[in-house]
Each structure stands twice: as C-alpha cells, then as structure tokens.
Amino acid sequence: MLPRPLQNLITALERLPGIGPKTASRLAFYLLREENDLAEALAQALQELKAGIGFCSECFYLTEAGKRLCAICEDERREAGLICVVEEPLDVIAIERSGAYRGRYHVLHGALSPIEGIGPEDLKIAPLLERVRRGGVREVIIATNPNLEGDATALYLSQQLRPLGVHLTRLARGLPMGSDLEYADPNTLMRALAGRQEIESG
C-alpha cells in the first residue's frame, strides 16, 4: 500500500501519453527522493502552464492567457487570405522556422483516428469551416502529417471545404512518409511548401 499522495501522483503520471505504470512509479519515486527543488519547480511550471497559456480563438494556436488572438493572427502583415491547416501547435513552429510562409494558420489539435476515438467533432474542423464561410479566404493549404491518419484527415477536410468554393492545396510529398511534421528539417519543409499540390476531387 502506497501513501495516498504518492499514489495520486503515479495515477496522474500514468495518464500522460507514452507513460506506463512502471515508468510512472519510477518518476514518482525519483521526485520524492530528489533534493534540488525539482518537484517545486515542476509544480509551479505546471500551474503557470494552464494559467498563463490559452488558445487563439481564431486559429487555435497558442496565446498568452487573456488574449483573444495569437501573435500571428494579430500581425497585419500576414496574409489573411491564406490558411495553412496543421495538426499540432508544434507544426506551426516548424513551418515558421522555415521562414517561407507569410499566411495564417489553423491548428486542428489532432487527426482523425477512430481507433483512438477521435472523430471530426473532436478536432477544430467546424471553426475552420466557419472561418472560410465568413469569406476573404483565397486558399487553404492542408499540411497534416504525411501518414495514414494525416491523409485521411486531409481527405475529410477537402470533402468539407470543396463545396465552399475555396482553392485547396496539400503539402507536396517532399516529406518522408510516416514521419511527423515537427521533426522535418526546415529545408525539406520549404521545398514541400513550394511544391504543394492540388487535391484531386475524391
């Protein structure tokens, strides 16, 4: 029988992706024994994370808490008629790093995956359709990950967006299949962006 606080921590850690019961216990005991204030620092960082960060109400990228729009949506010099749709906030950072893109973003926060119980209503798809319906959007670039779930999500988006009459493109396959956008190097990403393709009507 473990003391309650320790058990609580283990149970919480286990809910993190990629962490099983064994790893969770190891981490918990490590934190218990550790003497350089790591536990305190971690606790504070976690609290600030939730209190200090929110999501942009337009594109769902990260913002400082209390702000409605993110830095990219607020930047008047960025082209509002061009939206690049990505799975995760980290993908925005990857594309920004390439320096090749001057439009805006839309972060889905995941990809379709029935096995994990993720359907369209769990992603920020409805707000994207709403953004396009409001008008002023010339082109939507779909930049989901080049894997099966990313492809399925892209296909679903194209089916939903096509009736709205917007120009649709998909990142070119300069990206290695089965990889994650966030790990792609800037050069590869730049080439992929430059060579983006029309999506065939499905």
């Binding site: 019961p21 379709l112 029935p114 096995i115 119980g117 779930e149 399925a152 499905g202």
Partner: protein
C-alpha cells in the same frame, strides 16, 4: 543470391554462432531438438522478418536472455546479390510496454543504415519448404493469404508497404464501423476510410492476380512433370470482392472454370471495390466490420478440377506442395532476376525415392540450398559429394567429416 556469412546472438538455442556458408548444398545433420529448424528459421527471418514457427515472437530470443529487460537477439546476414554484397542486421528487442506487458520490437539495418522493415523486406530472398506447409493447401484461408503475402512481399517492391498500410486502414475502418454501429455518428467519415482502403486494396488484388497467374503457369508445368502427366494443377484466386463484372461472376459456375482477371487495371478494380463497399454499407454498419477486401481473399488448389484442400489424398497434397514450392522459387527468380536461397526442412524423409530425385535434381540448379535431416542416409551419394555436411548439436554447428560413418554399411 547466396548467403556468405551468418551470425546469431541469443536467437533461439543459439547463444552465439558465427559462420561462413559455402555455395551449393549445405546439409545440416543432427538429432532432434538440436537447432536445425531454428537455423532455417533465422535465415528465413532475414528474408521476411517473420517467423514460420511461432506467432509468439518473444520465443525467438534465447530464454535466458529473455529474462533481462530489455532483452536483445541479433541476426546478421552477409549475402551476395548481382548488385554486390550486402549486410542485413535484424535486432529483436523484447521490452516492457505501457500496459505492463512485453512486446517484441524489430529493427533492421541494411548496410549499416536503419530502415523501415516494410521497405527492405525481400532485399534478401529465401524460399522455405517444410512438411507442415501442407497447411497452405489443407489449412484455413489465412494460411494461404500468409503464403501469398510472404512470397509477394519478397519479389514485388511496395507490396509490404501497401499491405501494412491496408491493415492499418482496415483497423481504423473497423473501429469506425463499430462506433457507428453502436451509436449513429458522422457517416461522412466513412467515405474517407473507404477511399483509403480501396486504393490499397485494389493495388494488392492487382498484384495477387498477376502473381497467381504467373505462379500457376510455373506450378502446372512442374506438377505435370512430377505426376508424369497425370495431373493438371490449378491455382484459383477467389477474391472476397470479385472485380469481374457481376453477370460473369454471379452465375454459379463450376469451381474449376478459369476466370481471367489479368486484363483488369488497378483503377478499374478500385472503382468497383468502392462501389461494392457503398452498396454493402448498411450491412457493414449493422455488423460493425469490413466484410470484403483482400483480408478475406481465398486461393484454392485444384488437381484435374478437384479441390485438393477438401478431397486431396496425403500423397497428392504433398506433391502439389512440392510443385507450388518449386514454382515459388522459379517465380522469384523471374521477378528478381536471381535465385532465392532455398531452405528445406526435413523434406526428403517425407518423400518417396522418385520424388526425392526429382526434387534434388531441381534444387541443384539454384545457387544455394540449405537442407536439414536427422541423418544423411536419405540422400543419394552424388548429392552428398557436392554438398557440405555440418552437424548441429545443442546450438552449435560443427563440420562433419564426412560420408564415411553415414554411408559405410554395418
């Protein structure tokens, strides 16, 4: 193609083995339970990354090593192809999973570079023949799909990748069907998975149609010779989704009527497959599972129009398997431009002397063949003279000198 060097670490009962392999015939002799079959399994694993002995893959690692966490087994093959010599390393890594279970992960390095398994499967080629493989003819349809997959993946670039994508999409689609069966939801999502599934499914069917037609031609010729003209062997592909126009396929023709699908293009198969899926949607939604597609394909073996899986005698089935395996070997040579390494496990003891000679005559044309037996007496002297004899004993391999003890009377 020829295996030049093999080294095994903590694989089955081989804690440590490193050896050079000669060309032509290598005969592994040994009492029961010494490691003969395990040796062939190791070579076959380098070609297919799949075991023919077990579905419990953690058993591949030596059981003392397997107590460690993580435990590692290692296979390294050096082989000669027409484009030069290569080195393939396969690592079997047994590690704890999140759910406190154990999982065997495989890593492969080709010429020192780590690659996805599905991209390098079949860089090294082998054909395996073991007596239990009569299951291909007599067993359930999954045995035949497994045979097709392991063979085609070795000779058709892209087959393994498309197959693994198909299986993954199938899991996603089945999960979605189950959810939609339990509670109504976005049916529009299903369209997406239908597109993805049929794109890969049609490609797999196209490859299976071509390969089976080519293999049938080769197998029928061999079989006619082996049976001295008595039996015509046929390989009948029965896809779960029939891509031929319905009127042809629907009339219940006798099983033996050949249907020629070789003119069909991938795109035609795909369109038809997609249409059928849409027509079956209601039924699939109630059952919560994908009902048609390559994962349910079937192949039947017929001798003179009679289904060998249902009505074949033991001898008939064994001979048909022999024809199939010889055809598989020739088919790989046609496709890849060189012979696969041939692995024969205890095959000779199961055959009569006529078939033995037929088999040995044919296998001696390929570059390298590795055979196992409990003793050498079943092998004709000329064959033994051309071959290298090794003794397998408790996970070690020793040169065996030579025919004297085996062949001397008394």
């Amino acid at each position: 193609m020829r295996l030049l060097h093999l080294s095994l670490t903590n694989f089955r009962n081989f804690t440590r083995l490193a050896l050079e392999l000669p060309p032509r015939g290598v005969l592994l002799i040994g009492a029961n339970a010494q490691g003969k079959t395990n040796f062939l399994e190791a070579v076959y694993l380098l070609a297919t990354f799949s075991s023919f002995q077990t579905h419990v893959e953690r058993q591949l690692i030596h059981f003392l090593e397997a107590r460690k966490s993580p435990a590692v087994g290692r296979l390294i093959g050096e082989y000669q192809r027409r484009d030069g010599t290569h080195r393939l390393e396969l690592r079997l890594i047994l590690e704890a999973t999140a759910g406190d279970g154990m999982r065997l992960r495989k890593e492969a390095l080709l010429d020192g570079v780590k690659r996805p398994l599905s991209q390098i499967v079949g860089h090294f080629n082998a054909v395996l023949f073991a007596p239990h493989m009569t299951q291909i003819i007599e067993g359930g349809p999954e045995e035949r799909r497994r045979f097709l997959n392991l063979t085609l993946a070795q000779a058709i670039p892209g087959y393994a990748t498309v197959l693994s994508e198909y299986v993954h999409i199938l899991e996603q689609r089945n999960a979605l069907l189950k959810q939609l069966a339990a509670q109504a939801g976005h049916v529009a999502q299903l369209d997406v998975w239908d597109q993805e599934l049929t794109a890969r499914g049609a490609q797999l069917m196209y490859w299976r149609i071509q390969a089976l037609q080519e293999m049938e031609r080769l197998a029928a010729r061999v079989h006619l010779e082996l049976t001295r003209g008595a039996e015509v062997l046929r390989l009948m592909y029965r896809p779960a989704y029939e891509p031929l126009p319905l009127p042809v396929a629907q009339i219940s023709l006798p099983l033996s009527t050949p249907l020629d699908r070789s003119h069909l293009k991938v795109e035609e198969i795909r369109e038809g497959f997609l249409e059928r899926l849409r027509a079956m949607r209601r039924e699939e939604l109630t059952r919560g599972v994908t009902l048609i597609g390559p994962h349910r394909d079937e192949v039947r073996f017929l001798a003179n129009g009679i289904d060998l899986g249902d009505y074949g005698s033991r001898g008939q089935v064994r001979t048909a398997l022999l024809s199939l395996k010889l055809a598989e070997m020739e088919w790989m040579r046609l496709r890849n431009g060189e012979w696969p390494v041939l692995l024969l496990d205890e095959v000779l003891s199961e055959l009569d002397s006529q078939r033995r000679e037929d088999l040995l005559a044919r296998v001696s044309t390929c570059e390298q063949v590795i055979l196992t037996a409990t003793d050498a007496s079943a092998f004709p002297a000329p064959f033994l003279l051309q071959s290298t004899l090794w003794e397998v004993k408790m996970g070690q391999i020793y040169p065996k000198n030579h025919l004297a003890e085996e062949k001397e009377p008394g």
